[in-house]
Protein backbone atom coordinates (compact mmCIF):
# COMPACT_ATOMS: atom_id res chain seq x y z
CA UNK A 1 0.00 0.00 0.00
CA UNK A 2 1.33 3.41 -0.94
CA UNK A 3 -0.12 6.31 1.02
CA UNK A 4 -0.54 9.45 -1.05
CA UNK A 5 -2.16 12.76 -0.25
CA UNK A 6 -5.66 13.06 -1.75
CA UNK A 7 -5.89 14.64 -5.18
CA UNK A 8 -5.67 18.40 -4.84
CA UNK A 9 -3.82 18.32 -1.51
CA UNK A 10 -0.11 18.99 -1.20
CA UNK A 11 2.65 18.75 1.35
CA UNK A 12 4.98 21.65 1.97
CA UNK A 13 8.53 20.46 2.58
CA UNK A 14 11.04 22.53 4.58
CA UNK A 15 12.24 24.58 1.59
CA UNK A 16 8.64 25.28 0.50
CA UNK A 17 7.92 26.38 4.06
CA UNK A 18 11.01 28.60 4.18
CA UNK A 19 9.90 30.35 0.98
CA UNK A 20 6.30 30.66 2.13
CA UNK A 21 7.42 32.09 5.48
CA UNK A 22 9.69 34.56 3.69
CA UNK A 23 6.61 35.94 1.94
CA UNK A 24 4.34 35.82 4.98
CA UNK A 25 6.89 37.43 7.33
CA UNK A 26 7.25 40.41 5.04
CA UNK A 27 3.50 40.79 4.61
CA UNK A 28 2.95 40.56 8.37
CA UNK A 29 5.54 43.24 9.03
CA UNK A 30 3.74 45.58 6.65
CA UNK A 31 0.36 44.77 8.22
CA UNK A 32 1.80 45.53 11.67
CA UNK A 33 3.27 48.81 10.49
CA UNK A 34 -0.14 49.92 9.30
CA UNK A 35 -1.70 49.05 12.67
CA UNK A 36 -3.47 45.85 11.72
CA UNK A 37 -4.00 43.02 14.22
CA UNK A 38 -4.13 39.35 13.43
CA UNK A 39 -7.37 37.45 13.76
CA UNK A 40 -7.64 33.66 13.67
CA UNK A 41 -11.04 32.22 12.90
CA UNK A 42 -12.29 28.67 12.70
CA UNK A 43 -11.40 26.52 9.70
CA UNK A 44 -14.88 24.99 9.90
CA UNK A 45 -17.99 27.11 9.58
CA UNK A 46 -21.71 26.51 9.26
CA UNK A 47 -22.55 26.32 5.59
CA UNK A 48 -25.11 29.09 6.21
CA UNK A 49 -22.39 31.42 7.47
CA UNK A 50 -20.27 30.83 4.40
CA UNK A 51 -23.13 31.32 1.98
CA UNK A 52 -24.88 34.29 3.65
CA UNK A 53 -23.04 36.89 1.57
CA UNK A 54 -24.29 35.36 -1.66
CA UNK A 55 -20.82 35.24 -3.20
CA UNK A 56 -19.96 31.63 -2.45
CA UNK A 57 -21.05 28.89 -4.77
CA UNK A 58 -22.06 25.88 -2.72
CA UNK A 59 -20.41 23.51 -5.17
CA UNK A 60 -17.05 25.13 -4.38
CA UNK A 61 -17.34 24.38 -0.63
CA UNK A 62 -15.92 21.13 0.74
CA UNK A 63 -18.65 20.00 3.10
CA UNK A 64 -18.13 18.05 6.29
CA UNK A 65 -20.30 15.44 7.93
CA UNK A 66 -21.45 16.31 11.38
CA UNK A 67 -23.44 14.36 13.91
CA UNK A 68 -26.16 16.90 14.73
CA UNK A 69 -27.62 17.35 11.31
CA UNK A 70 -25.98 20.71 10.77
CA UNK A 71 -24.24 21.37 7.51
CA UNK A 72 -20.65 22.42 7.91
CA UNK A 73 -18.04 23.42 5.39
CA UNK A 74 -14.35 24.20 5.21
CA UNK A 75 -13.94 27.95 4.70
CA UNK A 76 -13.29 28.88 1.04
CA UNK A 77 -12.32 32.43 2.11
CA UNK A 78 -12.13 34.40 5.35
CA UNK A 79 -14.21 37.51 4.84
CA UNK A 80 -17.44 35.76 5.88
CA UNK A 81 -15.80 34.33 9.02
CA UNK A 82 -14.30 37.67 9.97
CA UNK A 83 -17.58 39.49 9.37
CA UNK A 84 -19.34 36.97 11.61
CA UNK A 85 -16.71 37.19 14.34
CA UNK A 86 -16.43 40.97 14.19
CA UNK A 87 -20.10 41.83 14.61
CA UNK A 88 -20.87 39.25 17.29
CA UNK A 89 -17.65 38.99 19.29
CA UNK A 90 -16.01 42.36 18.89
CA UNK A 91 -19.11 44.45 19.53
CA UNK A 92 -17.49 46.45 22.34
CA UNK A 93 -14.38 47.57 20.48
CA UNK A 94 -14.08 50.95 18.83
CA UNK A 95 -14.23 51.30 15.10
CA UNK A 96 -12.43 51.37 12.73
CA UNK A 97 -11.03 47.90 13.28
CA UNK A 98 -7.97 46.84 11.37
CA UNK A 99 -7.67 43.07 11.09
CA UNK A 100 -5.40 40.79 9.10
CA UNK A 101 -5.20 37.05 8.61
CA UNK A 102 -2.85 34.47 7.22
CA UNK A 103 -4.61 31.17 6.85
CA UNK A 104 -5.46 28.17 4.71
CA UNK A 105 -8.68 28.03 2.71
CA UNK A 106 -10.33 25.20 0.83
CA UNK A 107 -11.93 25.36 -2.58
CA UNK A 108 -13.29 22.40 -4.42
CA UNK A 109 -11.87 22.45 -7.93
CA UNK A 110 -14.25 23.04 -10.79
CA UNK A 111 -15.66 19.95 -12.43
CA UNK A 112 -13.78 18.86 -15.48
CA UNK A 113 -10.35 19.82 -14.22
CA UNK A 114 -8.07 17.08 -13.06
CA UNK A 115 -6.24 17.15 -9.78
CA UNK A 116 -6.39 20.92 -9.33
CA UNK A 117 -5.43 22.31 -5.97
CA UNK A 118 -8.00 22.30 -3.15
CA UNK A 119 -6.09 23.79 -0.22
CA UNK A 120 -4.66 27.27 -0.61
CA UNK A 121 -3.02 29.85 1.62
CA UNK A 122 -4.21 33.42 1.77
CA UNK A 123 -3.08 36.53 3.56
CA UNK A 124 -5.36 39.50 3.71
CA UNK A 125 -6.76 42.46 5.59
CA UNK A 126 -10.19 43.77 6.49
CA UNK A 127 -10.74 47.41 7.47
CA UNK A 128 -14.08 47.47 9.24
CA UNK A 129 -16.23 50.42 10.22
CA UNK A 130 -14.83 52.97 7.82
CA UNK A 131 -16.28 54.14 4.55
CA UNK A 132 -15.09 56.87 2.28
CA UNK A 133 -12.26 57.73 0.00
CA UNK A 134 -9.50 57.81 2.64
CA UNK A 135 -10.28 54.26 3.79
CA UNK A 136 -10.23 53.09 0.16
CA UNK A 137 -6.92 54.84 -0.35
CA UNK A 138 -5.47 53.23 2.79
CA UNK A 139 -6.28 49.76 1.48
CA UNK A 140 -4.72 50.42 -1.94
CA UNK A 141 -1.60 52.02 -0.42
CA UNK A 142 -1.30 49.11 2.00
CA UNK A 143 -1.53 46.67 -0.88
CA UNK A 144 1.13 48.57 -2.76
CA UNK A 145 3.35 48.62 0.35
CA UNK A 146 2.99 44.81 0.64
CA UNK A 147 4.19 44.30 -2.92
CA UNK A 148 7.07 46.70 -2.48
CA UNK A 149 8.21 44.80 0.61
CA UNK A 150 8.20 41.59 -1.44
CA UNK A 151 10.13 43.23 -4.27
CA UNK A 152 7.57 42.09 -6.80
CA UNK A 153 8.74 43.38 -10.16
CA UNK A 154 5.84 44.20 -12.38
CA UNK A 155 2.26 44.33 -11.31
CA UNK A 156 -0.87 46.24 -12.23
CA UNK A 157 -4.07 47.13 -10.47
CA UNK A 158 -7.40 46.92 -12.26
CA UNK A 159 -9.98 49.02 -10.44
CA UNK A 160 -13.72 49.00 -10.76
CA UNK A 161 -16.76 50.15 -8.82
CA UNK A 162 -19.32 47.39 -8.33
CA UNK A 163 -21.88 49.81 -6.86
CA UNK A 164 -21.62 52.28 -9.72
CA UNK A 165 -21.75 49.60 -12.41
CA UNK A 166 -24.70 47.94 -10.68
CA UNK A 167 -26.49 51.25 -10.63
CA UNK A 168 -25.65 51.97 -14.30
CA UNK A 169 -27.27 48.62 -15.16
CA UNK A 170 -30.60 49.78 -13.69
CA UNK A 171 -31.65 51.28 -17.04
CA UNK A 172 -32.17 47.75 -18.33
CA UNK A 173 -35.58 46.16 -17.74
CA UNK A 174 -35.66 43.45 -15.05
CA UNK A 175 -35.89 40.55 -17.47
CA UNK A 176 -32.83 41.72 -19.33
CA UNK A 177 -30.64 43.04 -16.53
CA UNK A 178 -29.22 39.74 -15.29
CA UNK A 179 -28.32 38.67 -18.82
CA UNK A 180 -26.58 41.95 -19.52
CA UNK A 181 -24.79 41.81 -16.18
CA UNK A 182 -23.66 38.24 -16.84
CA UNK A 183 -22.46 39.10 -20.36
CA UNK A 184 -20.49 42.12 -19.11
CA UNK A 185 -18.99 40.15 -16.20
CA UNK A 186 -17.81 37.45 -18.62
CA UNK A 187 -16.76 39.94 -21.33
CA UNK A 188 -19.16 38.20 -23.70
CA UNK A 189 -19.59 40.77 -26.43
CA UNK A 190 -21.22 38.31 -28.81
CA UNK A 191 -24.00 37.66 -26.28
CA UNK A 192 -24.63 41.40 -25.83
CA UNK A 193 -24.82 41.88 -29.59
CA UNK A 194 -27.34 39.08 -30.01
CA UNK A 195 -29.60 39.83 -27.01
CA UNK A 196 -32.90 41.18 -28.18
CA UNK A 197 -33.23 44.76 -26.98
CA UNK A 198 -33.62 48.20 -28.45
CA UNK A 199 -30.66 49.66 -30.34
CA UNK A 200 -30.31 52.36 -27.69
CA UNK A 201 -30.06 49.81 -24.86
CA UNK A 202 -27.64 47.70 -26.87
CA UNK A 203 -25.37 50.69 -27.41
CA UNK A 204 -25.55 51.41 -23.68
CA UNK A 205 -24.62 47.81 -22.84
CA UNK A 206 -21.65 47.82 -25.22
CA UNK A 207 -20.62 51.22 -23.86
CA UNK A 208 -20.58 49.78 -20.31
CA UNK A 209 -18.57 46.78 -21.41
CA UNK A 210 -15.93 49.03 -22.96
CA UNK A 211 -15.60 51.43 -20.01
CA UNK A 212 -11.98 50.62 -19.38
CA UNK A 213 -8.61 52.33 -19.69
CA UNK A 214 -6.85 55.35 -18.25
CA UNK A 215 -8.82 56.54 -15.21
CA UNK A 216 -9.20 60.12 -16.41
CA UNK A 217 -10.50 58.95 -19.81
CA UNK A 218 -12.94 56.49 -18.31
CA UNK A 219 -14.24 59.02 -15.78
CA UNK A 220 -14.79 61.51 -18.58
CA UNK A 221 -16.64 58.89 -20.64
CA UNK A 222 -18.92 57.88 -17.80
CA UNK A 223 -19.60 61.51 -16.96
CA UNK A 224 -21.04 61.93 -20.44
CA UNK A 225 -23.98 59.75 -19.36
CA UNK A 226 -27.07 61.23 -17.78
CA UNK A 227 -26.14 60.32 -14.20
CA UNK A 228 -28.27 60.38 -11.07
CA UNK A 229 -26.93 62.30 -8.11
CA UNK A 230 -25.73 59.14 -6.33
CA UNK A 231 -24.01 57.96 -9.51
CA UNK A 232 -22.38 61.35 -9.80
CA UNK A 233 -21.19 61.01 -6.19
CA UNK A 234 -19.61 57.64 -7.02
CA UNK A 235 -17.84 59.12 -10.03
CA UNK A 236 -16.59 62.02 -7.91
CA UNK A 237 -15.36 59.61 -5.24
CA UNK A 238 -13.41 57.69 -7.86
CA UNK A 239 -11.95 60.93 -9.16
CA UNK A 240 -10.97 62.01 -5.64
CA UNK A 241 -9.40 58.60 -4.99
CA UNK A 242 -7.29 58.79 -8.15
CA UNK A 243 -6.11 62.30 -7.25
CA UNK A 244 -5.37 61.24 -3.69
CA UNK A 245 -3.25 58.29 -4.83
CA UNK A 246 -1.40 60.47 -7.32
CA UNK A 247 -0.68 63.24 -4.81
CA UNK A 248 0.45 60.70 -2.21
CA UNK A 249 2.87 59.23 -4.72
CA UNK A 250 4.39 62.61 -5.53
CA UNK A 251 4.50 63.60 -1.83
CA UNK A 252 6.41 60.49 -0.76
CA UNK A 253 10.16 61.01 -0.64
CA UNK A 254 11.14 57.87 -2.51
CA UNK A 255 9.64 56.49 -5.68
CA UNK A 256 9.42 52.95 -4.37
CA UNK A 257 5.94 52.10 -3.24
CA UNK A 258 4.19 54.16 -5.85
CA UNK A 259 1.27 52.37 -7.46
CA UNK A 260 1.93 51.69 -11.16
CA UNK A 261 -0.47 53.12 -13.73
CA UNK A 262 -3.97 52.05 -12.75
CA UNK A 263 -6.55 50.67 -15.11
CA UNK A 264 -10.07 51.80 -14.34
CA UNK A 265 -12.45 49.14 -15.58
CA UNK A 266 -16.15 49.59 -14.86
CA UNK A 267 -16.89 46.22 -16.48
CA UNK A 268 -15.02 44.56 -13.61
CA UNK A 269 -18.00 42.92 -11.92
CA UNK A 270 -18.98 39.40 -11.02
CA UNK A 271 -22.31 37.74 -11.41
CA UNK A 272 -22.52 37.08 -7.67
CA UNK A 273 -20.63 38.95 -5.00
CA UNK A 274 -21.10 41.07 -1.90
CA UNK A 275 -19.14 44.06 -3.12
CA UNK A 276 -20.93 47.40 -3.00
CA UNK A 277 -18.28 49.89 -4.08
CA UNK A 278 -14.64 49.91 -5.05
CA UNK A 279 -13.38 46.53 -6.37
CA UNK A 280 -9.92 45.68 -7.60
CA UNK A 281 -7.75 42.92 -8.93
CA UNK A 282 -4.01 42.69 -8.49
CA UNK A 283 -2.37 41.27 -11.59
CA UNK A 284 1.18 40.18 -12.27
CA UNK A 285 2.22 41.33 -15.70
CA UNK A 286 5.26 39.47 -16.97
CA UNK A 287 6.47 37.94 -20.23
CA UNK A 288 5.04 34.62 -19.04
CA UNK A 289 1.59 36.16 -19.12
CA UNK A 290 -0.68 37.79 -16.61
CA UNK A 291 -2.24 36.18 -13.56
CA UNK A 292 -4.43 37.38 -10.72
CA UNK A 293 -2.38 37.50 -7.50
CA UNK A 294 -5.09 38.91 -5.29
CA UNK A 295 -8.27 40.90 -5.19
CA UNK A 296 -10.46 42.93 -2.95
CA UNK A 297 -13.25 45.37 -2.60
CA UNK A 298 -15.71 47.27 -0.46
CA UNK A 299 -18.63 45.45 1.15
CA UNK A 300 -20.84 47.87 3.05
CA UNK A 301 -23.80 45.54 3.61
CA UNK A 302 -22.08 42.29 4.52
CA UNK A 303 -21.58 42.76 8.26
CA UNK A 304 -25.27 43.46 8.79
CA UNK A 305 -26.10 39.96 7.58
CA UNK A 306 -24.28 38.56 10.60
CA UNK A 307 -25.44 41.08 13.21
CA UNK A 308 -28.28 39.85 15.43
CA UNK A 309 -30.16 43.15 14.98
CA UNK A 310 -29.04 43.62 11.40
CA UNK A 311 -26.87 46.60 12.29
CA UNK A 312 -24.29 46.97 9.57
CA UNK A 313 -20.84 48.48 9.33
CA UNK A 314 -18.97 49.35 6.16
CA UNK A 315 -15.92 47.26 5.31
CA UNK A 316 -13.17 46.96 2.74
CA UNK A 317 -10.37 44.43 2.38
CA UNK A 318 -8.19 42.40 0.11
CA UNK A 319 -6.70 38.94 -0.11
CA UNK A 320 -3.36 37.86 -1.51
CA UNK A 321 -2.97 34.32 -2.86
CA UNK A 322 0.27 33.08 -1.35
CA UNK A 323 0.79 30.35 -4.00
CA UNK A 324 0.36 32.83 -6.84
CA UNK A 325 2.73 35.30 -5.17
CA UNK A 326 5.20 32.46 -4.69
CA UNK A 327 5.08 31.61 -8.40
CA UNK A 328 5.42 35.26 -9.38
CA UNK A 329 8.41 35.80 -7.05
CA UNK A 330 10.34 32.64 -7.98
CA UNK A 331 12.05 34.03 -11.12
CA UNK A 332 13.13 37.16 -9.21
CA UNK A 333 15.56 35.20 -7.06
CA UNK A 334 14.73 36.94 -3.76
CA UNK A 335 13.18 33.84 -2.19
CA UNK A 336 15.58 31.64 -0.18
CA UNK A 337 16.85 28.82 -2.41
CA UNK A 338 17.77 26.52 0.46
CA UNK A 339 16.84 25.96 4.07
CA UNK A 340 19.30 27.65 6.46
CA UNK A 341 22.31 25.49 7.35
CA UNK A 342 23.21 24.93 11.00
CA UNK A 343 26.07 27.02 12.38
CA UNK A 344 27.63 24.34 14.60
CA UNK A 345 27.99 20.60 14.78
CA UNK A 346 28.82 19.49 18.31
CA UNK A 347 30.44 16.04 18.24
CA UNK A 348 31.20 14.02 21.36
CA UNK A 349 34.44 12.09 20.73
CA UNK A 350 33.40 9.23 23.03
CA UNK A 351 30.11 8.05 24.49
CA UNK A 352 31.19 9.47 27.86
CA UNK A 353 31.50 12.94 26.33
CA UNK A 354 27.79 13.08 25.37
CA UNK A 355 26.57 14.96 28.52
CA UNK A 356 29.33 17.55 28.06
CA UNK A 357 28.40 17.84 24.37
CA UNK A 358 24.74 18.58 25.21
CA UNK A 359 25.83 21.15 27.81
CA UNK A 360 28.24 22.84 25.40
CA UNK A 361 25.65 22.92 22.58
CA UNK A 362 23.11 24.50 24.93
CA UNK A 363 25.63 27.19 25.89
CA UNK A 364 26.11 28.19 22.25
CA UNK A 365 22.34 28.16 21.63
CA UNK A 366 21.79 30.71 24.39
CA UNK A 367 23.57 33.44 22.46
CA UNK A 368 21.53 36.60 21.86
CA UNK A 369 21.23 36.00 18.12
CA UNK A 370 19.80 32.86 16.59
CA UNK A 371 22.50 30.18 16.45
CA UNK A 372 21.61 26.77 15.00
CA UNK A 373 23.42 23.92 16.72
CA UNK A 374 23.21 20.23 15.86
CA UNK A 375 24.49 17.35 17.95
CA UNK A 376 26.41 14.68 16.05
CA UNK A 377 24.60 11.36 16.46
CA UNK A 378 27.43 9.23 15.05
CA UNK A 379 27.94 6.32 17.51
CA UNK A 380 31.27 5.32 16.01
CA UNK A 381 32.74 8.80 16.65
CA UNK A 382 34.55 8.50 13.32
CA UNK A 383 35.99 11.98 12.79
CA UNK A 384 36.40 11.74 9.02
CA UNK A 385 32.80 10.62 8.62
CA UNK A 386 31.55 13.40 10.86
CA UNK A 387 33.50 15.98 8.84
CA UNK A 388 31.92 14.62 5.65
CA UNK A 389 28.46 14.92 7.12
CA UNK A 390 29.19 18.48 8.25
CA UNK A 391 30.43 19.47 4.79
CA UNK A 392 27.40 17.86 3.16
CA UNK A 393 25.09 19.84 5.45
CA UNK A 394 27.08 23.05 4.88
CA UNK A 395 27.97 23.36 8.59
CA UNK A 396 31.08 25.51 8.98
CA UNK A 397 32.20 24.70 12.50
CA UNK A 398 32.60 21.51 14.49
CA UNK A 399 33.10 21.48 18.25
CA UNK A 400 34.80 18.22 19.18
CA UNK A 401 34.04 17.36 22.82
CA UNK A 402 36.80 15.33 24.47
CA UNK A 403 36.15 12.71 27.13
CA UNK A 404 37.21 15.23 29.79
CA UNK A 405 34.53 17.64 28.59
CA UNK A 406 36.86 20.13 26.94
CA UNK A 407 35.84 21.44 23.51
CA UNK A 408 38.18 21.65 20.53
CA UNK A 409 36.96 23.86 17.69
CA UNK A 410 37.58 23.09 14.07
CA UNK A 411 36.59 25.37 11.19
CA UNK A 412 35.67 23.68 7.95
CA UNK A 413 35.84 25.41 4.61
Amino acid sequence: MIYQPPSGARDLLPLDVAQKRWIEDRLEQVFHRWGYHRIITSTVEHLDTLMAGGAIDQSAVIELQDTQGQRLGLRPELTASIARAAVTRLAAVTYPQRLYYNANVFQRTAQGSHGGQQEYYQAGVELLGASGVIANAEILQLLSDCLTSLGLGSWRLILGDAGLTHSLLSVFPDALRDKVRRAIAHLDRVALETLSMSEELKQRALFLMDLRGRPSDVLQQVSSLDLSSSQRDSVNDLKTLMELLQETASASTHSAGAIPALILDLSLIRTFDYYTGLVFELVSDTDQGSRVLGQGGRYDNLLGLYHPQGQTYPGIGFILNIEELHQALLPGGQLPDQTPASDWLVAPMTDQAAPAAFAYAQKIRESANLVRVEISLDDAHNQEQIRDIARLRKINRIAWIHADGLPEIEALN
Binding site: R189, A191, G289
Partner: protein, 213 residues
Protein backbone atom coordinates in the same frame (compact mmCIF):
# COMPACT_ATOMS: atom_id res chain seq x y z
CA UNK B 1 4.32 40.11 -27.97
CA UNK B 2 0.76 39.02 -28.78
CA UNK B 3 0.25 35.28 -29.21
CA UNK B 4 -2.65 33.89 -31.21
CA UNK B 5 -3.97 30.32 -30.97
CA UNK B 6 -5.17 29.02 -34.34
CA UNK B 7 -7.23 25.85 -34.82
CA UNK B 8 -6.06 23.03 -37.06
CA UNK B 9 -8.63 21.89 -39.58
CA UNK B 10 -11.62 23.51 -41.19
CA UNK B 11 -11.21 27.02 -39.76
CA UNK B 12 -7.47 27.42 -40.35
CA UNK B 13 -7.38 28.91 -43.86
CA UNK B 14 -9.97 31.59 -43.15
CA UNK B 15 -8.43 32.38 -39.76
CA UNK B 16 -5.07 32.98 -41.40
CA UNK B 17 -6.72 35.13 -44.09
CA UNK B 18 -8.35 37.26 -41.41
CA UNK B 19 -5.04 37.97 -39.69
CA UNK B 20 -3.27 38.49 -43.00
CA UNK B 21 -5.78 41.17 -43.96
CA UNK B 22 -4.70 42.92 -40.75
CA UNK B 23 -0.99 42.74 -41.43
CA UNK B 24 -0.12 39.54 -39.55
CA UNK B 25 1.06 36.75 -41.80
CA UNK B 26 0.88 33.21 -40.40
CA UNK B 27 0.48 31.50 -43.79
CA UNK B 28 3.54 29.33 -43.05
CA UNK B 29 1.05 27.09 -41.20
CA UNK B 30 -0.68 26.36 -44.53
CA UNK B 31 2.53 25.03 -46.06
CA UNK B 32 2.17 21.25 -46.14
CA UNK B 33 5.86 20.75 -45.35
CA UNK B 34 5.63 22.88 -42.19
CA UNK B 35 6.06 20.97 -38.94
CA UNK B 36 6.51 23.95 -36.63
CA UNK B 37 3.82 24.40 -34.01
CA UNK B 38 4.75 27.96 -33.09
CA UNK B 39 5.71 30.59 -35.64
CA UNK B 40 6.32 34.28 -35.66
CA UNK B 41 4.80 36.78 -38.05
CA UNK B 42 7.58 37.95 -40.47
CA UNK B 43 7.39 41.45 -38.94
CA UNK B 44 7.88 39.90 -35.45
CA UNK B 45 4.88 41.66 -34.01
CA UNK B 46 2.96 38.50 -33.09
CA UNK B 47 3.29 34.75 -32.66
CA UNK B 48 0.84 32.01 -33.56
CA UNK B 49 0.32 28.56 -32.07
CA UNK B 50 -1.14 25.77 -34.17
CA UNK B 51 -3.30 23.59 -31.91
CA UNK B 52 -6.31 21.30 -32.10
CA UNK B 53 -9.58 23.22 -32.14
CA UNK B 54 -10.57 21.86 -28.71
CA UNK B 55 -7.30 23.13 -27.27
CA UNK B 56 -7.62 26.72 -28.56
CA UNK B 57 -9.77 27.88 -25.59
CA UNK B 58 -7.40 26.10 -23.19
CA UNK B 59 -4.36 28.11 -24.31
CA UNK B 60 -6.46 31.27 -24.25
CA UNK B 61 -8.00 30.59 -20.82
CA UNK B 62 -4.58 30.02 -19.27
CA UNK B 63 -3.23 33.14 -20.98
CA UNK B 64 -0.49 31.52 -23.07
CA UNK B 65 -2.33 32.96 -26.06
CA UNK B 66 -4.09 36.31 -25.71
CA UNK B 67 -6.30 35.69 -28.74
CA UNK B 68 -7.78 32.65 -30.41
CA UNK B 69 -10.17 31.57 -33.11
CA UNK B 70 -12.45 28.63 -32.44
CA UNK B 71 -15.87 27.35 -33.38
CA UNK B 72 -18.85 28.17 -31.17
CA UNK B 73 -19.42 24.40 -30.87
CA UNK B 74 -16.19 24.02 -28.87
CA UNK B 75 -17.03 27.00 -26.64
CA UNK B 76 -20.49 25.64 -25.97
CA UNK B 77 -19.13 22.18 -25.18
CA UNK B 78 -16.27 23.24 -22.90
CA UNK B 79 -17.56 26.53 -21.46
CA UNK B 80 -14.09 27.98 -20.96
CA UNK B 81 -13.57 31.20 -19.07
CA UNK B 82 -12.67 33.39 -22.07
CA UNK B 83 -13.97 36.66 -23.51
CA UNK B 84 -16.20 36.16 -26.58
CA UNK B 85 -15.37 39.13 -28.76
CA UNK B 86 -16.81 38.59 -32.22
CA UNK B 87 -18.81 36.25 -34.39
CA UNK B 88 -16.47 35.88 -37.36
CA UNK B 89 -19.32 34.50 -39.52
CA UNK B 90 -17.21 31.89 -41.33
CA UNK B 91 -17.02 28.14 -40.74
CA UNK B 92 -20.78 27.83 -40.48
CA UNK B 93 -22.14 24.44 -39.43
CA UNK B 94 -24.80 22.99 -37.15
CA UNK B 95 -24.92 20.59 -34.24
CA UNK B 96 -27.43 17.90 -35.12
CA UNK B 97 -28.98 14.67 -33.99
CA UNK B 98 -28.77 12.00 -36.70
CA UNK B 99 -29.91 8.37 -37.00
CA UNK B 100 -29.73 5.61 -39.58
CA UNK B 101 -31.98 6.37 -42.56
CA UNK B 102 -33.47 2.90 -42.28
CA UNK B 103 -34.51 3.43 -38.66
CA UNK B 104 -38.12 4.29 -37.79
CA UNK B 105 -37.12 7.48 -35.92
CA UNK B 106 -38.16 10.77 -37.51
CA UNK B 107 -37.66 13.08 -34.52
CA UNK B 108 -35.49 12.98 -31.42
CA UNK B 109 -38.54 12.29 -29.30
CA UNK B 110 -39.15 9.07 -31.27
CA UNK B 111 -35.96 7.62 -29.78
CA UNK B 112 -36.74 5.01 -27.12
CA UNK B 113 -35.79 6.02 -23.56
CA UNK B 114 -32.36 4.82 -22.47
CA UNK B 115 -31.14 4.43 -26.01
CA UNK B 116 -27.49 5.13 -26.74
CA UNK B 117 -26.24 8.32 -28.33
CA UNK B 118 -22.65 8.51 -29.57
CA UNK B 119 -20.95 11.91 -29.60
CA UNK B 120 -17.73 13.87 -29.36
CA UNK B 121 -19.83 16.61 -27.75
CA UNK B 122 -21.01 14.84 -24.62
CA UNK B 123 -22.03 17.96 -22.70
CA UNK B 124 -24.06 19.36 -25.60
CA UNK B 125 -25.69 15.98 -26.14
CA UNK B 126 -26.51 15.56 -22.45
CA UNK B 127 -27.94 19.06 -22.18
CA UNK B 128 -30.10 18.60 -25.25
CA UNK B 129 -31.63 15.30 -24.18
CA UNK B 130 -32.18 16.69 -20.70
CA UNK B 131 -34.00 19.65 -22.24
CA UNK B 132 -36.41 17.33 -24.07
CA UNK B 133 -36.62 15.16 -20.95
CA UNK B 134 -35.47 11.99 -22.67
CA UNK B 135 -33.10 9.81 -20.63
CA UNK B 136 -30.29 8.48 -22.85
CA UNK B 137 -26.87 6.96 -22.40
CA UNK B 138 -24.17 9.13 -23.94
CA UNK B 139 -21.26 7.18 -25.46
CA UNK B 140 -18.18 9.40 -25.77
CA UNK B 141 -16.20 8.92 -28.99
CA UNK B 142 -13.23 10.84 -30.38
CA UNK B 143 -13.89 10.56 -34.13
CA UNK B 144 -15.94 8.95 -36.93
CA UNK B 145 -19.01 9.10 -34.76
CA UNK B 146 -21.11 7.94 -37.76
CA UNK B 147 -19.92 4.41 -37.10
CA UNK B 148 -22.01 4.34 -33.93
CA UNK B 149 -25.39 3.78 -35.64
CA UNK B 150 -23.83 1.91 -38.59
CA UNK B 151 -22.36 -0.75 -36.32
CA UNK B 152 -25.40 -0.73 -34.08
CA UNK B 153 -23.52 0.45 -31.01
CA UNK B 154 -25.81 3.48 -30.69
CA UNK B 155 -29.24 4.45 -31.98
CA UNK B 156 -28.25 8.05 -32.70
CA UNK B 157 -25.36 10.49 -32.85
CA UNK B 158 -24.94 14.15 -31.97
CA UNK B 159 -22.37 15.69 -34.27
CA UNK B 160 -21.39 18.72 -36.32
CA UNK B 161 -22.85 18.86 -39.80
CA UNK B 162 -21.58 21.33 -42.39
CA UNK B 163 -22.63 20.13 -45.86
CA UNK B 164 -24.36 16.92 -44.80
CA UNK B 165 -22.30 14.87 -47.26
CA UNK B 166 -20.74 12.56 -44.66
CA UNK B 167 -24.17 11.79 -43.25
CA UNK B 168 -25.58 11.06 -46.71
CA UNK B 169 -22.69 8.83 -47.75
CA UNK B 170 -23.13 6.82 -44.57
CA UNK B 171 -26.92 6.55 -44.99
CA UNK B 172 -27.68 8.69 -41.95
CA UNK B 173 -30.40 11.32 -41.74
CA UNK B 174 -30.54 14.49 -39.69
CA UNK B 175 -33.45 14.66 -37.22
CA UNK B 176 -32.91 17.83 -35.20
CA UNK B 177 -30.64 20.85 -35.17
CA UNK B 178 -29.43 21.72 -31.66
CA UNK B 179 -27.82 25.00 -32.68
CA UNK B 180 -25.85 26.72 -35.43
CA UNK B 181 -22.17 27.40 -35.02
CA UNK B 182 -19.65 29.80 -36.56
CA UNK B 183 -16.06 30.76 -35.83
CA UNK B 184 -15.56 33.10 -32.86
CA UNK B 185 -12.79 35.45 -31.84
CA UNK B 186 -11.93 34.83 -28.19
CA UNK B 187 -9.49 36.48 -25.78
CA UNK B 188 -7.85 35.87 -22.41
CA UNK B 189 -10.06 38.01 -20.12
CA UNK B 190 -7.24 39.46 -18.05
CA UNK B 191 -5.20 40.38 -21.14
CA UNK B 192 -8.28 41.97 -22.66
CA UNK B 193 -8.56 44.17 -19.57
CA UNK B 194 -4.82 44.95 -19.44
CA UNK B 195 -4.48 45.63 -23.18
CA UNK B 196 -0.79 44.73 -23.63
CA UNK B 197 1.08 45.50 -26.90
CA UNK B 198 -1.89 47.16 -28.58
CA UNK B 199 -4.06 44.06 -28.22
CA UNK B 200 -7.31 45.98 -28.28
CA UNK B 201 -6.36 47.88 -31.44
CA UNK B 202 -5.82 44.54 -33.17
CA UNK B 203 -9.13 43.19 -31.82
CA UNK B 204 -10.94 46.30 -33.04
CA UNK B 205 -9.40 45.90 -36.51
CA UNK B 206 -10.43 42.24 -36.64
CA UNK B 207 -13.96 43.15 -35.59
CA UNK B 208 -14.24 45.91 -38.20
CA UNK B 209 -13.03 43.48 -40.84
CA UNK B 210 -15.70 40.98 -39.83
CA UNK B 211 -18.46 43.54 -40.05
CA UNK B 212 -17.42 44.46 -43.59
CA UNK B 213 -17.60 40.85 -44.76
Amino acid sequence: MITVALPKGALLTESIQLFKANGLDFSAFLDKSNRQLQISDPTHRAKALLVRAQDVPVYVEYGQAQLGIVGYDVLREKRPNVAHLADLAFGGCRMSVAVKGSSPYRSALDLPPHSRVASKFVNCAREYFQSIDLPVEIVPLYGSVELGPITGMSEAIVDLVSTGRTLKENNLIELEVLYHSTARLIAHPLSYRLNPDGLNTLIEKLRQQTMVL
